[in-house]
Every structure is written in C-alpha cells, then in structure tokens.
C-alpha cells in the first residue's frame, strides 16, 4: 500500500468550522502582519530622524489609497491581536475554558476589535 492510500485520521476538512478556529488563525495572521508593520515603524522613525528615506515620500505613500488600506489593516490587526491577547491572558488564569464561553468570547473579541478600529479610524 502506497503512502497516499493509507487511511488518515480526521483532519481539518472533516470538522464543521468553529468560530474559535477562525480566531486562532486570525491571531497568528494579525501577529505576523504586525511583525511586518514593525519594519514600517522603524522606517518611519528613520525617516523622522535622518530623512535618509525622505519623510515626504513616506508621508505620500502612507496617505495614498493603498497606504491607507494597509494602515487600516494594521490598525485592525493591532486591535484584534490586543483583544484576543487579553482573551489568552484570561485563559492563562484558568478561566472561561468551557465550550460555550470560548464561543461567546470569540464574538466579543471580533465585535470589540471592529468597534475599536472603526472609532479610532473615524476619530483619527
């Protein structure tokens, strides 16, 4: 029997997609996006300090439509990662581990992140 024909234990495709899984994946994705954002943060500081990368260029790019979309993405990533991070810290104390609680907290995190992102973006 070749390797491909062996029976496999149930994997991702076999389960109904739970909201908690979405949150888990989003936490990693937003975290990685923020790591990329760290590069932009440092370039921004270098531009302010030395103008080696001209600050005007940085300003123009960040105020272009594409730049604004990326900034909005980082803002949402920040708030999502922050809210879900707090959820993780609560779990670390051993609380809210019941199935229905993890589903409720998932929605609280999503709604909080969207509201925070929206209100900061409009206020800003």
């Amino acid at each position: 029997m070749s390797k491909d024909e062996r029976p496999l234990s149930p994997h991702l495709s076999i389960y109904r997609w739970p909201i908690t899984m979405t949150l888990s994946i989003l936490h990693r994705m937003t975290g990685f996006a923020l790591s990329i954002g760290l590069v932009a943060y440092v370039v921004w500081l270098e531009a302010i300090a030395w103008d080696v990368i001209p600050y005007a260029t940085f300003y123009a790019i960040s105020h272009s439509i594409l730049g604004q979309v990326v900034l909005l993405g980082w803002l949402f990533s920040f708030f999502f990662h922050l809210c879900n991070g707090v959820r993780h810290l609560v779990w670390d104390t051993g609380r809210l581990f019941e199935k229905h609680q993890t589903i409720t907290s998932s929605w609280i995190v999503i709604i909080s992140a969207v509201i925070l992102t929206g209100s900061y973006w409009l206020f800003f």
Binding site: F32, V39, V42, L45, I48, A49, H88, L89, F123
Partner: protein, 132 residues
Amino acid sequence: MSLRSPLSRVLGSGSAKEGTEHWWMQRVTAVALLIIGLWFLVSIAGLSAYDRAEMYRWAGHPFNAVMLILASVTLAWHSILGVQVVVEDYVHGPFLKVLALLLNKFLHIFLAAAAVLAVLKIALGDFSGDSL
C-alpha cells in the same frame, strides 16, 4: 518514577534545558505592549500636521522618546517570540529551520537597534525641530 531532581523540576527545566521562559516573556511583553500600544495610538492622535517637523518635536519630547525606545525593544522582543513559533511550525529541515530562526533574531535585533538609535538622535539632538 521521575528521574528528574526536585531542583530541576522547580526550575522548570525539561530536556530542552529551558522551561517556561518563552511562554512567560511572551506574556510579560504582551502586557507591556498593551500599555505602550494604547499610549502610542492616543498620543499620536493628538497631533495635527504629521509633517517631519511636528513628528521630530513629538518624538524628541523626553517622555515620548523613552516610550518610543521601550516600544521598539518590546515590539522586537514580542515579535521574535511570535515569529519563532511560526517558523518552528512551518519551516522544516534542520538547515532551513536553524537559518530562519537565526535570521529572525538577527533582523529583529537590527530593527530594534536602528529604532533606538533614531530616537536617541532625535531626543539628544536639537529637538525643537526648528533646524529642519
């Protein structure tokens, strides 16, 4: 029966020779970034022009400069720990994995050093921004 001595158990040392350090520092830097991140968003929202002169004055303010240095180091630290887990999960093969883990650390520390130097230059130089 465990062959581990009570001392090694108490130090949390498994076969990897390190215990809860990664997990714990991820939490410590997370709490720090919660504070620093919210400070950053609130502080930067109070500005108006966002041109270089205004950013220079803002970043050169002693309190802001300290917070920016803390932000740079803590962000890089938290990011090292996070990206490390991603590399360990998705990059396979001993050579590639070790290379990626090394690059992860080197690049992050480079970014942190560059950011700290930039803030120091702004804060220790003429931070009125008039000379720009």
